[in-house]
């Protein structure tokens, strides 16, 4: 807070011909927009997700179970010649003990996971250094948005860098995470997210990083991952 605060607020109130504070109040905006159709099956939604994600260069697929996903990861790593894999702290990775299982499956690859005490600056620095060198990162998701092929990740579950620094980013998702559109996700987050619910960063990821700044030519992998993969584990029951 500083001296200009009062000056600026004063100018605004004069400009709006409003003598003092307390005159403005909040009023809701009538929701004129057609509401989105009810929740259709997760499988149908994921079909839609796949279509949109693929259209922007993402690589979505369905895996029947975690075994199939593990097989897929082995192929992915071998195919691209990845040497370093980073696994996030996200619930789905912990549940399947992914880091452990992968180090056993891929002895020639260095598998590393986000662990330790995030509140110690030393651990955080080590984390960053590791991530900067990773070829592939594996994280979970918090929400999937069918309408645009978007993955939404909260900073509470995994770091921001793990989905950003490596060359490729693989998201493991589950059917309960998929929603038709962003509006539905926000309703889930709560219309007025109370203190504490909202993590410091919510990141929406739609396909790989890209740019068209040179003669409008589309290039993948401007600053973030060149490949963005989303695998849905388990069909809807």
């Amino acid at each position: 807070m500083n001296g200009s605060r009062e000056v600026i607020l004063g100018r605004i109130r004069r400009a709006l011909l409003r003598p003092g504070t307390g005159h403005a109040q909040e009023h809701g905006i009538p929701d004129r927009v057609r509401s989105t159709p009810g929740r259709v099956g997760a499988t149908r939604l994921f079909d839609q997700f796949q279509e949109h994600s693929a259209s922007v260069g993402g690589e979505p697929r369905v895996c029947a179970d975690i075994e199939e996903a593990l097989e897929g990861i082995q192929k992915l790593v071998a195919g691209a010649g990845y040497r370093r894999v980073a696994v996030s702290h996200h619930e789905i990775c912990r549940r399947h003990r992914l880091a452990q299982v992968l180090s056993d499956l891929l002895p020639e690859v260095s598998v590393w996971r986000e662990e330790g005490d995030a509140d110690r600056p030393g651990s955080r620095r080590r984390n960053s250094r590791q991530l900067a060198q990773a070829d592939l990162s594996i994280t979970g998701a918090d929400f999937l948005i069918a309408e645009s092929g978007t993955v939404l990740i909260a900073s509470a579950g995994s770091s921001r860098q793990i989905s950003l620094l490596p060359t490729a980013h693989l998201v493991l998702a589950t059917p309960d995470q998929i929603y038709p559109d962003l509006g539905a996700v926000f309703r889930q987050l709560g219309t007025a997210p109370e203190e504490g619910r909202l993590p410091a960063a919510l990141t929406m990821i739609t396909g790989p990083s890209r740019t068209a700044d040179i003669e409008k030519v589309l290039i993948k992998g401007a600053h973030g991952p060149v490949r963005q993969l989303t695998w849905m584990i388990g069909e809807e029951t």
Binding site: S4, L16, A200
Partner: protein, 469 residues
């Protein structure tokens, strides 16, 4: 290169004469428009969305004091800090002071029109801090010592060969004009900067008052890097970027992505609420939000142009504008170009300093039709023209012609006499085909020839011959 809005005529005619540049702008804007049209078509409720966005912006701007105070309180509650900056120098010195405190010799910066507007990069350099532009387009023009030519694609005016030569000369890498290789070089070079910088600077697309969340929209990932890696993050926003509620974000995100690039969603949207929280793996330890006035409260005081503050900087009005398509972004001599630039620049820098810009429009209204927040841009341009006329800022010849015209239009006898005299004069001088040369007008277009008879004469004679209605 220092261009000013007062040079519009000169710059525009130079740029129109440059055929390569004209082709570049026409094909790029055409491409963007096509993409946009395709993706908008898929949203049947598009018009409803625009209307709703307009009303939300109206709510925010009409109660700006209320929502800004609310935003401030929310950011503070989330552990962030808020700085109110009256003008460019206050905002810049706040950031410079931050650099001093952090002993930062370089800072990484993602795209921010507000930072561009206040000349933050120059201020930092003057203070001995190296600001590194990290958006690919911004990086290119920073290396070239240029200024942006489009809100969304800053290096739109440059060819791949120019960029290849530039990198070859400045960085000593082997010449290449393959875009992917140029991009890969920039990525690698900038990675180093990201990993070592202590301060990251970003812009703000939307700031939700109720949660103190700022949203940053991008495709490359550089804004994510700027806001995740450095120890301190400072975000700079114009006052008008505040929106009432977090729950309004989905609407604006949909409108912005589709309007600017035709994407359903940009590659990345970061929604940031304060600094890193306990237990989180990364994120800045300090979060600063700079609220920039810099003339916005003045714009607010004129209800007729107040709506220009609804702008979400999507760039669609630039792409659709027949003037912008031909003269390009640099002709406007300011950070904001195209129709919205023609409105904002005179308001920010003073009408006299930018008096050609309100005329840089055919008044076709295409900008108003495309605007996702329904700003009536062409009306705003007309009002600015009206202001200029009432301040007698137009040339005396024009004023004379207009007052004669007004007198004639108000008095039928005078009108008849005037047009009869004119016809007689043209007949005698034998110039009926190309009646006048008017400086500034006739070199580029023909003055229409006068009809042989007046409408009234024609009407009466055709009635007599029984041809008329």
């Amino acid at each position: 290169m220092n261009r000013t809005p007062s040079q519009f005529r000169i710059l525009a005619s130079e740029n129109i004469a440059d055929r390569r540049l004209r082709r570049t702008f026409q094909s790029a804007t055409g491409h963007a428009l096509g993409q946009r049209a395709q993706s908008v078509q898929l949203v049947p409720e598009w018009e409803d969305l625009r209307e709703r966005a307009h009303r939300i912006k109206e709510e925010a701007v009409e109660h700006l004091d209320f929502y800004l105070e609310k935003l401030e309180a929310s950011v503070i509650r989330r552990g962030g800090r808020v700085f109110w900056a009256r003008d460019a120098s206050e905002a810049s010195s706040y950031v410079v002071d931050l650099c001093r405190r952090l002993q930062a010799s370089t800072v990484v910066k993602s795209k921010s029109m507000a930072a561009e507007e206040i000349g933050l990069a120059d201020a930092l350099e003057a203070a001995g801090v190296q600001p590194v532009e990290t958006d690919l387009g911004e990086f290119i023009i920073q290396v070239a010592g240029e200024t942006p030519s489009h809100i969304i694609a800053p290096a739109l005016h440059m060819t791949r060969q120019q960029i290849g030569n530039l990198f070859h000369e400045k960085f000593g890498i082997p010449y290449t004009d393959i875009p992917a290789e140029l991009c890969a070089f920039a990525r690698q070079r900038l990675r180093r900067e990201f990993l070592s910088a202590r301060l990251g600077i970003s812009g703000v697309n939307f700031a939700a008052a109720d949660t103190g969340t700022i949203a940053i929209v991008e495709n490359e990932g550089n804004a994510r890097l700027c806001t995740s890696l450095p120890r301190v993050h400072v975000a700079i926003m114009g006052l008008e970027k505040v929106i009432p509620r977090f729950s309004d974000l989905p609407l604006f995100l949909r409108l912005l992505a589709r309007s600017s690039t035709g994407q359903k969603q940009t590659s990345y949207v970061s929604m940031i609420s304060g600094p890193r929280r306990e237990g989180e793996w990364d994120g800045p330890e300090e979060f600063h939000l700079v609220l920039l006035d810099n003339g916005r409260s003045d714009i607010l005081s004129d209800p007729r142009v107040r709506r220009s503050l609804y702008c979400i900087r999507c760039g669609a009005c630039l792409n659709t504008c027949p003037i912008y398509q031909r003269v390009g972004g640099h002709s406007y001599g300011s950070v904001y170009s195209g129709p919205i630039g023609s409105v904002l620049t005179p308001l920010f820098q003073g009408l006299e300093a930018a008096k050609d810009l309100p005329y840089a429009s055919s008044l076709c209204g295409s900008c108003s039709n495309i605007c996702p927040v329904k700003i009536d841009l062409h009306h705003q341009l007309l009002w600015l023209r009206e202001k200029l006329v009432s301040r007698r800022a137009t040339p005396w010849q024009e004023r004379l012609a207009m007052s004669l015209f007004a007198a004639g239009m108000k008095d039928p006898a005078l009108y008849r006499m005037g047009s009869a005299l004119l016809r007689l004069f043209l007949k005698v001088s034998g110039k009926s085909n190309r009646p006048f040369t008017i400086p500034g007008w006739s070199p580029t277009r023909d003055f229409p020839a006068l009809a042989q008879t007046s409408f009234k004469q024609w009407w009466e004679s055709s009635r007599q011959q029984g041809e008329g209605p």
